[in-house]
């Protein structure tokens, strides 16, 4: 990223409207470029000042009454208006209605059409979000979906190798972090390969291990520094999920192997990574 690009994306970044990858690239640039960093800080203060300083014009109480009474008039008038059109037909010499009425009618139809399309877009965008369960539940659903997809679509690995020294460098070049990769063949969990995935709004590493006939997807991404979370086991739709974290990374193991196997896998993985 250069300064010109950083300047162009400034408002989007400060409004939190950029995708996570672009945001990270910007943050990287700001660390390296004091000039842009300063510009971002100043623009950020201006944005906060606009929000804080400009008045929000609340509707006065009498407006509510005005609107409600005009709506009441509207429904009371509806039948009379229909009759009025009939009356007009009986007296063709009456002055034609002002053109503005025609114009307004077509406007209404356009507005109606626009509103329908708009409402549909909004509905499709927001309704699934409203049904979002707890954050972990939601993540678990994503993880299982990703696990199932990896088995289904013949896309288990992007790099198929039982050699950790092949898988790790490959992942390191594709991601902005370096996940730990160990082979656990001697512990009964041979490494099959690695894959990129996208979860929890960010790119993540997926390591694939085998346990007898079952596959284990181990998803890894950087966690909040120093935030070691207690191990959490979940069972969801027949799949086992095991979550743990160390000071550097979040781990989620997903498999249809049994829960004990997954626990063993976690212990072996931790024992091996602590040696590195």
């Amino acid at each position: 990223m250069n300064c010109e690009e950083a300047a162009k994306l400034m408002d989007g970044y400060l409004d939190g409207e950029l995708d996570p990858i672009t945001s990270q690239t910007i943050e990287q640039h700001l660390l390296e470029c004091p000039k842009c960093d300063q510009a971002y800080k100043i623009h950020g203060s201006l944005i906060r000042a606009i929000g804080n300083a400009t008045p929000y014009y609340k509707a006065p109480a009498e407006l509510r009454e005005r609107i409600q009474s005009s709506l009441r008039d509207e429904i009371a008038d509806l039948p009379t208006r229909n009759v009025a059109q009939d009356t007009q037909a009986l007296f063709p010499r009456r002055e034609p209605r002002p053109r503005a009425i025609l114009w307004e009618t077509s406007w209404n139809w356009l507005a109606l059409a626009a509103a329908i399309i708009f409402a549909a877009i909004i509905a499709f965008t927001f309704v699934p979000r409203l049904q979002r369960p707890g954050a972990d539940q939601f993540l678990a659903t994503q993880l299982i979906a990703s696990h199932v997809r990896s088995l289904m679509a013949n896309h288990l690995t992007d790099v198929a190798s039982s050699d950790q020294h092949t898988v790790k460098p490959w992942l390191d070049t594709k991601l902005d972090f370096a996940p730990p990769v160990v082979d656990l063949s001697s512990e009964g969990f041979p490494l099959i390969g690695g894959r990129l995935d996208y979860l929890d709004n960010r790119p993540v590493a997926a390591l694939v291990y085998q346990r007898r006939k079952h596959f284990i997807n181990l998803f890894i991404w950087p966690g909040e520094t120093g935030a070691a979370r207690p191990t959490m086991a979940m069972s969801h739709e027949g799949y086992q999920l095991l979550h743990w974290a160390d000071p550097d990374f979040n781990y989620w193991a997903v498999s249809d192997a049994n829960a004990n196997d997954l626990q063993t896998f976690k212990q072996q993985f931790e024992a091996q990574t602590s040696h590195h």
Binding site: D11, D15, E17, L46, A53, L63, A115, A123, F126, L130
Partner: protein, 209 residues
Amino acid sequence: MAAPLKIDYAFNAEDLESSAKIVKFTILKKHREPDAAQEHELASFEETMLPHMDAAHNLARWLLRNEQDAQDVVQEAYLRAFKSFSGFHGSNGRAWLLTIVRNTSYTFLKKNQAVDFTTFDEEIHVAADEFASPATILEHGEDAELIREAMDALPAEFREILALRHQEGLSYKEIAEIAQIPPGTVMSRLARARGKLKEYLAARIGKEK
């Protein structure tokens, strides 16, 4: 220059009113109470849309810069919204209503030839050394009145996008729907709006020094 047009508008309105009177007189006997279905629709409309009246009023107030006009436009927008309400099946009532408020406001602005969004004075005529530095602007960041004035001085499309973003806290996606612009344009328009605001502040603060 706005005055003759206003009179024209008032004349039209009076015309409508007088013909409506004739109609009412003719069919007085046939007047009936609204039926249950209409009452029900109205209740459902009010339940969905009245909670967004502050948002509607705020947007109209920023666009029209006048309290009386804002109230008239909001009332008109509610009537229009009610007439198209059967077409509303979405979940975002606020965005839907704000779209109508926005369009009604622009119709009003055009009628009164107060279409200022293309006539904004792009050049603020201040000598370069009279511009305040960004740091000085920030010292005035607390000066609410000055920032309000600056925002009021911007063209309508900028006032609109700033109100939607900073006061309603809407996402770029929602703003794109309401302002009827491509989602990709929201960021650049916001950037231009904030840039103009900054320029205005720099000029004003520079002059006061």
